[in-house]
Symmetry: C3
Subunit: 139 residues, 3 copies
């Protein structure tokens, strides 16, 4: 963790520039600092996935042009309420900046949520953390 | 929110008529009323996404024809137990009506869950709520 | 339930052998036993879905080759801490065995989590449980 999943209606594919949004959200997480000025998230744990729906329904179906983007950050439990809020606000600001021009010309829902997951077991089995921890040490 | 995600095995694609299920579930949410007769969900917040799996495994693998459909409604915390139950039952009824004929001729799992999410931050950043709120006002 | 969702970056598609991982995780769940030697999960409830992302961002973007695999088991609430841990460890071991060779030559994150979901409503509407319960009875 932190793990961001973006689910969105495929009718936004041409307009949403999802690769840029993924990068922007990842960079926002990497830049996040807690109250002590420490990174909130390790670089090697940051990932963002975007999945367009194959089928969807939005609102009352009155327009096929209506869309939706749902952004969810799941992170481990235990960060302070201040850090939770500042991370949420930073992601919201990045999301607003990305979608501002599109919201001026299309109607779509856009929800961002930050979760502390309900995990009862958690294992990190990859080698990306070690890769970036080593790079940071070499500095 | 409310946010419905349907995950299903791709071997059901030809039979499941997912566009119709998405619409039926969205309409069910729009029609839902609480104990006071008020809408449970705002029209502009209703969306349903359906995502077929690219790879899957079902049960013991004894038949490639076995499938699974998982339907999850995530909604904000705080609705009454009675509303939670009535929303769940309305979605279950809509799901049963949709899949009844297919269940008579194919073997597949079908699970519906309603969650109150574990969010610690939530932001609505889109313009669809405003769009439908304005329409409702114009009446 | 139990319901496993695998989200992964599409740059791992050629190397990850996801069909084999899905089957291996399903078999691991079917083989799981609790402290009393009873099956932890019913065969007809076991399913694994794998969804490659359409777009993604990993870590600081320093290599397009960096990837991520996220494996999530969601199960019903109420199993003992010992069972939660043993299920998690069995899935972790299966995941390690599957990805060991690939981790020796590529850099990617690999996280496994087991959740007890926050459901407030749950309905099983399919016929797969009945199918396997009947088979088990005929034994």
């Amino acid at each position: 963790m932190p793990h961001v999943t973006i689910l969105y209606t495929s009718n936004l594919e041409a307009d949403a520039d999802m690769p840029a949004l993924c990068r922007r959200l990842a960079d926002t997480m990497i830049a996040a600092r807690d109250e002590a000025g420490q990174p909130v998230f390790p670089v090697g744990g940051v990932r963002v996935y975007a999945h367009p729906s194959t089928h969807h329904a939005v609102a009352d179906g009155s327009s096929d042009d209506h869309g939706f983007v749902y952004i969810n950050l799941r992170m481990a439990r235990g960060r302070s309420p201040a850090t939770q809020r500042s991370v949420g606000e930073a992601l919201a600001e990045a999301t607003r900046a990305h979608f501002g021009p599109l919201l001026a010309r299309r109607a779509f829902g856009l929800t961002l949520q930050v979760d502390e997951g309900p995990e009862v077991y958690d294992a990190k089995l990859g080698n990306l953390h070690a890769h970036f921890a080593q790079r940071a040490k070499k500095g």
